[in-house]
Symmetry: C3
Amino acid sequence: MTSFDVTTHVRTELLDITDKVKDAVVQSKVASGMCFVYVPHTTAAVTVNEGYDSDVARDITEALSKLVPHRASYAHSEGNSDAHIKAAIVGSCQAIPVEEGRLALGRWQGVFFCEFDGPRQRRVQVQVIGK
Amino acid sequence: MTSFDVTTHVRTELLDITDKVKDAVVQSKVASGMCFVYVPHTTAAVTVNEGYDSDVARDITEALSKLVPHRASYAHSEGNSDAHIKAAIVGSCQAIPVEEGRLALGRWQGVFFCEFDGPRQRRVQVQVIGK
Amino acid sequence: MTSFDVTTHVRTELLDITDKVKDAVVQSKVASGMCFVYVPHTTAAVTVNEGYDSDVARDITEALSKLVPHRASYAHSEGNSDAHIKAAIVGSCQAIPVEEGRLALGRWQGVFFCEFDGPRQRRVQVQVIGK
């Protein structure tokens, strides 16, 4: 398993980490299998979505913020319940196939770290399983 | 890794692909492990849910469309931001256990391809890992 | 693959199953790989989120219930369409890395069984893959 750092700059954003995940797959020397991108945080997530037009990432963060508002009558006292809820909705692990030693993303797909309670220094773990 | 095509017929629907996933598991000759159903698209997803009463699939698509409306003030100019957002919520990969050489779904579970921007010709990839 | 039972006590709750998942990983004797926690039900789910302050789990269940109300004009006649929809949003499988023979959760992370149509007797399956 390898890992890398991600620095986020605002409270809520999707950061394209595709190249770092691709590098981890090449380093793993696995020819065929699955790559797992894991976020060890409880107010962030990971997803695969369009990597070509950055407006898509913005639409996703804004839609999630409409569904789960930052300020509401939450029980948790740290003021970031919305971030925990968004993390539960999007998910903390993304699985992606590996073929011929490379990350087998679809044509328009990129891998995104989802920051819901930044800005922070974050960590992403990548595990590749196969042959 | 194997793959198969899916033809969707309307803009938003859940299509039962359980039999095709089961076939891919049998072909893999893996006795015990995990099956990964991956969607290489950014406006579609995959999930496991009730396969017995098709009303459940309809309730899921309608509830998602209420949460994420087709027409709203999105940044992305292609008119399908709702589909990208739904894909981020439902997810592009579904993992399912494999036992005794077969897909180990729960009694009422089926595997569904989630079309959010159809109708289209789509592709589903299946990777099975184990022994 | 191993499995264990979970008894839920109300209609909607998040139950901390971290210790049982940790035990399953130790029993698997896998040193490095991935752990998959799978829910074979269609009105329940599994997620990783904060395990320290139980208010977070309550905020997650309440936020989901606001997004997907129990009573609405659903097609499915069993009165639990909300539970099926929440299961599709949160997901029926959670992948977590395994390192040095142990579940490699982040510092604040715990594993939660998500009951959306309880109280019931439920089952959780754990598959660990690696070396």
